[in-house]
Each structure stands twice: as C-alpha cells, then as structure tokens.
Symmetry: D2
Subunit: 258 residues, 4 copies
C-alpha cells in the first residue's frame, strides 16, 4: 500500500526557528519510519476564541517562511486559507491548500482553492455528517478539482466536547478521496477553558491508533517543541519529543494490517 502521510507542525507559525526545529526533526523521523511528511503551520488563525489570542505572522510573512522551509528542506508544505482573496497567493507557495472545518461549506473558498489545481484538504466541519462531505467533494469536482483530501477532526457532542466517530473514516474514503485523521484537533475541548479551547493530550495516541486501525491514508498532528509555551492550541498539541514513539506504534499497526 501507500506510505502513511503525516501532516504535522506547529499550530501557528510563531518563528521561523520553531518551524524549522519541528520540520527538521519530523523530516528525519519520517524518513526513518517510511512516512511521507508534509510540514503544516498556519500563517493566520482567523477564528481564535479571543481577540487577544495569537494569530500568526499573517499571509505575506507566513508564506515567506513556508516558502523558505519548502525550498531549503525540499519539503511539501500545507497551510489554511480563510478567505477566497488569500487563495491565489497561498497557491503560489503551498503544495496543499487546507480549508478549515468551520469554513468547509463556504462555496467561494472551496471553488477558488480547487481552481488552483493544487491538492485541497478539507476538514470536515464539527457540524457536518461524514456522508454530507459528498456535497463538499462535489463542489470541488464541479469546478475541476481532482486532488481532494478529507479530514476527520471530531464532531460536536453536546457542548464543549467533540467525539470522533470512527465510522466517518470508511464513509469518507468511499467518496474516493484519501482520508486524514486529525489526532490533535480531535482532542480539543472547544471553548472548554474560558477564553480559549482546552485539550486532552492524553487521548492523541489512542485516537490516532484507533483511526489507523480503522483505516486512514494520513495523520494530522499539531506538534510543538514545548506545547506548554505554544502560542496556539498548546493544550492539544503533541510534544516534538513524543511524536516518534507514537508514530512507531502507528506504523506497527499499519504494517500489521498491510
């Protein structure tokens, strides 16, 4: 079968140094484990819980950092767009354009992304059933999009909680798209910590293992050298030093089922 895809990196671009630290270590680990690695970081977190939350360096500076990492490390990069007006500039740098979960039904954003010819990676909204992602795929295909990936990142389950329905993985795969499991956003507790979202880091590994065994094409993880100091989503990020052990077990499951 195909090698596992790993989309990983810090939630937001904080500094080029942190980005490189993560990218280099992850590239090395993934090379060793036979994983296809794609570096991920956001240039702008457009939907943080609070005004005072860190948002990132912005489109221009962010894309510059991503371009620099991409070229110097020969690493594909992915980031998310929030507005049709950002898509063109983003497509000049990114290998994969990501559509955030809350925005997965915004027609213009989807079609603008599809029209670039780049891979489009759509996160399933917390409010969308897995079978209704067919409508999203149809929107992308309807304007010529051919390279589409879909991401499970949890569904609304009461208030301030998400649940991962593992049935969504085979359902979304049946739409003919590679399916990625976002192991770190899935353990968010949305709004669960007052002015920011909380997280349950301890469940990253069991959920990632479960999804791997259920059947996925890729994993998504927010990775930070020191999650306690992360300017965004620290509570649900995995520490850079912990990733390798988790990935080894993921690969064991994948190999066992190959």
């Amino acid at each position: 079968g195909q090698p596992l895809l790993l989309i990983g990196g810090p939630c937001a671009l904080e500094s080029e140094e942190i980005a490189r630290t993560v990218a280099e270590k992850m590239q090395e680990i993934c090379n060793r484990l036979g994983i296809s690695y794609i570096f991920k970081a956001s240039f702008d977190k457009a939907n943080r819980t609070s005004l005072s939350s860190y948002r990132g360096p912005g489109l221009e500076k962010g894309l510059m950092i991503l371009a620099s990492i991409r070229e110097s490390m020969q690493l594909p990069v992915i980031s998310d767009v929030h507005d049709a007006s950002q898509v063109k500039a983003a497509a000049e740098v990114l290998d994969i354009i990501q559509i955030p979960a809350f925005l997965c039904r915004q027609t213009d954003l989807l079609t603008e992304a599809a029209r670039t010819g780049k891979v489009v990676n759509v996160k399933k909204g917390q409010f969308v059933s897995p079978w209704d992602m067919k409508n999203v795929v149809d929107k992308l295909r309807g304007v010529g999009g051919r390279k589409i990936m879909l991401v499970e990142r949890g569904a609304s389950f009461g208030y301030n909680n998400l649940v991962v329905d593992m049935r969504s993985l085979p359902i979304m795969r049946s739409l003919g798209c590679p399916v990625v499991f976002d192991a770190t956003h899935s353990v968010q507790l949305p709004g669960g910590a007052g002015g920011s979202s909380g997280g349950q880091r301890e469940f990253i590994e069991p959920l990632a293992r479960a999804a791997t065994a259920a059947g996925i094409d890729g994993l998504f993880m927010e990775i930070h050298p020191d999650p306690r100091k992360a300017l965004c989503d620290g509570a649900n990020s995995i520490a850079l030093d912990d990733v390798e052990e988790v990935l080894k077990r993921i690969i064991k499951i994948r190999t066992a089922l190959a």
Copy 2:
C-alpha cells in the same frame, strides 16, 4: 416592556417583487400587532449545500434592492456578510449586519462589522455553547462594538439534525445582549435531503412559542409567498399567509407574561 422584534423575509433575494410582497405584508401585519419589523433577505448565500443551489443576486445588486425597500418603505433592513471585504459596502445600506452561524468565530468578519458602528446580529454556531458566545461578544466589544444581538438557531444533535436548547436563551441574555430566536433555521435538517438541507415546517410554531415563553427579545423567520417555490430554504420557510396567525399567538404569550 419592549415591543417584540421580528426579523423576517425571504431566505435569498429572488426578485425585488417577491421581496416587496413580503415586506409590505409583514410591515402591515407588524404595525397592526405592535411588532418592530426588520426586513431580512440575503444577497448571497455563500454556503449552500451544492454548487447548483441558487445563491442570490450578489452584493451590489442585492444591496440595491435592499436600499430601495429600505427607503421607499421606511423599513430597517438586515442582511448577512460572509467576508470582511463585504462589510463596508453592506454597512452603507443595512441597519443591522448579520454574521452567519458557521462564521461566528471568524475574528476579522466580526471586528470589521463591529467597527462600522452598526448593530451586529450574530447567529450562534451550531457547534458553539451558549456561554461561549461571551467570547464572540468580547471580540465585538473589544473593537468598540456596542450594539450586539445574539441568535439561537439550533445546536448540532447527532447527524443531520439540530436541537434547540431553550436554556441558551436566558444564558445568552445574561451576556447583556438582546436575544433573537431563529424559528425557521432551527427546524432545518442540515444536509438531510441529499443535495440540500431539509426542514420541518410543522415545528416552527411550537418552537417559536416555546422560545417566546422562555424569554426572547426578537424572532427571526424566513418567510416566502410560496415556500414550495422558494429558491432557498423552502422546506423550513413559513408561508407568508401563515405568519399572522402564528404571530398573534406569539403576542398573546408575550402579553400574558408582560
């Protein structure tokens, strides 16, 4: 107490004629019943289920129709924006700027809307708890927004279904903002009809009555002369001919509790 606010009109602007038909009849009914009426229609439905769904006349033409209705009928108008770039033009015409539920955490859209000084009406996301709307209100207030209204329109409840948690009404009111109950989107069955969302028109009235009795400042209803022919959200719109009877009972409840 204050008179009931009614935000109502066709989901999308289809033609100026339909818009006027609804606006005129509603103005007349509301005058008679002592209700403050605000005409609502969308110039662009940016998140329809499918590419082929009707989206509306677009920003420019849509605002023109809204401006014409506003001036000729002396009627306040409300519409929704989907992108920070639309806010300025919209604010030149609209009395109230509405933020769609899926976009209720998009910081730039919120702050851009608040900065216009217009009333901002934010729909609570289907994935947001009522108490977390405090973060939305704080974002708006943080840039000087003072006139904020919040809307309940249902919360994700499993797949393809929404549930209205009536507790959300007093919770959101406790944030110091008028609270509106959206009686027609609350009976949507998201994605429930294949390539479009379904609806349960029969529950518009019981839910509107329930919300009124629980305590609200306003009602929101999509109203169409012939919901079966509506180009958008027909399944959960109320027929223009049926509105008055429902409103009469709403006013009876409100009066009884005054």
Copy 3:
C-alpha cells in the same frame, strides 16, 4: 380545554410529615389556580448514583404513606415501580403507575403496569427518540393498556448533560396520549457532581414556560420544602415556596393560548 395537570412532590418519600407539607400546600395552590394536582413521591429510588444515596422507605412503608395521603386528602397519587414484582402492590394504592426513564423499554414492567388497568405514565428514556415512544405505547396497548401518559425529561446531549427537544412534545402528543413535561429532571446534570447528579434549578421556569407554550397536558416537578436539605435530587428540585409564582405564569401562558 382541559385543566393543566400537575404531578408534583418530593423526589423520594423522606417522612410523612414532609410529604404532607408538600401535598397540602400544593393542593391548596392548585385548587386556587384551577390545576389538577397529583401527589408524587418515590418509595424507592432504585437507580441512585451511589450506594450511599438515600433510597426511600421501601415499597411497603412507602405505599402506606401514599395511601394515607391519598385517603385523608382525597388526592390522587403517583409513584414509580422498578420491577414487575412491585406492580401489583403498587396498583392497589396508586392512581397512576410511573415507569422510570431508564426502564421505559423493559417489556415486563410495561405490560405488568398496563394490565392493572391503572393509568401508566412512562418517562421517555434519555436515549429514546420521541417517535420511538410509539413502540412503548404499542407495548402497553398490546396488553390492553388504554390510559397512557408520556413524559419528556430531556435527551442525552454529550456527557453529563441533557437537552429538552421541544419538538418531542407535539410528536408524542400525536401518538394520542397526554404529554407531561418533567421540568425538574430535565435540568439534571446526570452524574455531573461526582457521586451524585447535579442540577440547574434556574432553568426550571424557562423550560416549563417553553413547554407550556409549545403545548402540553401536564407538568411534573419535584418540589421540596427545602431543596438544600432534600435527600434526593435537591439540586434540581424547586422550593415549595417558589412553585406558586411559577405556576401562575404557566397558567397565564395556558390561558393566553386557550
């Protein structure tokens, strides 16, 4: 229309004195407000969160207290059964036999209750859709049950939380049975307080008002002279001194819609 039915009393029978205090005051209030009052208390709380929770006086002693109240006050009484073996004894005293929500699918309990010829009041399980209560009604009718009432008491909404879906009221009424809204169990936070369930007393009134406006035949409330000292469900009980004001507003809504 029919007068409102009120099923109310302390969660568990604590002492005959407390039971009488509640029953007498409620009888007086309900007479005054034109409400049909039914005294409710449990002789055994068979599903408390913890072993050390107070359970009540048991079948024999509990029925004795209920019989004494029933006869001396000329008041119909209701209590719940948890086991087919209790039904016969209970039916000798009770006017209405109540089936707890967790047990609403236990066939033997339902049929045994129906066969007594008494009114059977079934609480909809937190895990049951309103339309699936048809199966419960069919079980009761299938053995000759003709006097059936159905109760909404909230549906599971994520963990440790219930949501009242007001759509359930018209849906269950369409099954041809009077529908009761349980305003106090609906505000329980199941398991939400460690070794016992928590509650949100502040939402009893808004939910009771909402349900009344949506359309119900009866209300159910756990009422205690001093909820802080109640041996069961204090967190979601209403204080005896507060009931009248709430009921007055309920009656106003009901009258307005009559």
Copy 4:
C-alpha cells in the same frame, strides 16, 4: 500481555442447535488464534423494541441450554439478567453475569450480581459518561464485588444513532477493570427500523479494529450462522463465517502493539 477475551454468540438463545453450532466453531477458531472464548447468549431479551419481538426461551430453559453447553464443551458462559430475582439462578450456571446497558444504574441488580462472587460484566449505558462508570464500579465494590468488567457499546448521538467514543476505553480502564468493546451493539441504529432496531454491519470490523488499537481487554460480538434469519439483532450481528477473518486482523493489531 493477556490473551484477548472474546465474548460471542447469538443475541438470543434460539435453539440449542444454533447455540452449539456457534459455540463449537468459535471455540475452534479461538483456540487456533490464542483467544480466550466465552460463549454468550441471552435467555430473555427483556427490552426488545416491540411486544411481538422474539424474547428467548426464558430463564429456566435458557440456563439449561447454557449449562449443557458449558459442561459438554468446557466453555465459560455469560448471559444477562434483568431483575434481581433472576440473579441467584443465573449465578448457579454462568461464569459471568452481565448487566444490560439500560440497567447499569439499577442498584439492586448490580449489588445482587456482585454478591454472587461471580464476575460481573456491566455494559455502559448509552446515557452514561465513561468516567461516571466509577459510580457503577463503586456500587459493585461496595458490596464486595471484586471481579468487574466494563463494556463500551456506544453513546447516544442525536436520535436513532450511537457513536463510539474511543476515549472511553482508556478512561474505563483507568478504573482498574478490564474493558470490553461490544462491536456489534455499537453499530445498532436504535429504533432505526420502525418496530425494531437497525444496524450497520459494515462498521463492525473498522470499529473493532479501532478499539483494539486504542487498547482493550476483550471484544464482544453477536454472532449468528445466518444473521438475516436471526430472531434478534440480525442487522447488527456478524455472520459466523466472517468472524475468523476479522479476528485474525484483530490479533495482528494486538500482536503488533504487544
């Protein structure tokens, strides 16, 4: 580590012949794969959706069949009880006493089962959070229960649907009890087929694999020689001929993670 436990058999005892067919083949497969097999069948399905649903042979005859299989095949057997009055007779035959999900908070049933000294296997209610199973465990331990197993079988997710929250597996394991994943009831669609519950057999394997990778001690599966003809839960049973392939992959995952 410990060998995987498999609790499996037909939903209800239909005939001794079907029971033996399943038990013999499963014993043979499990011996080969190094799985500890426990034969499961219900003597009474006390909570079927409809009166006309098949319930099983009843306590006496059912226990006789179970005893006969147990002795002749040297196979541990498990079945469920629904009433404290059944526990003593059941404990004379069964190796493990199972408490149904709907009844997991019924104190008398739990304590009566624990007092027998037998292993007690409690299914987590569809309305119970994984951490609240601590209260169940405490009830059992409070009367001397020491051998307790807990089962995940899905949580209420909107109406007519269950979702398996894989976080529940590590959470329940942290209570110090072996945890079993019920792969066939978890794919039930409660009440989803009118007068009976539907099921999604296609998700049995992905969920079983996912749970195995997340970390479990045992699996539970309803197995029938011909699920289409099963008198109970056919829609979510696995065919006897399909079990071995699934178990092989389960064992591969388990071995990979050992």
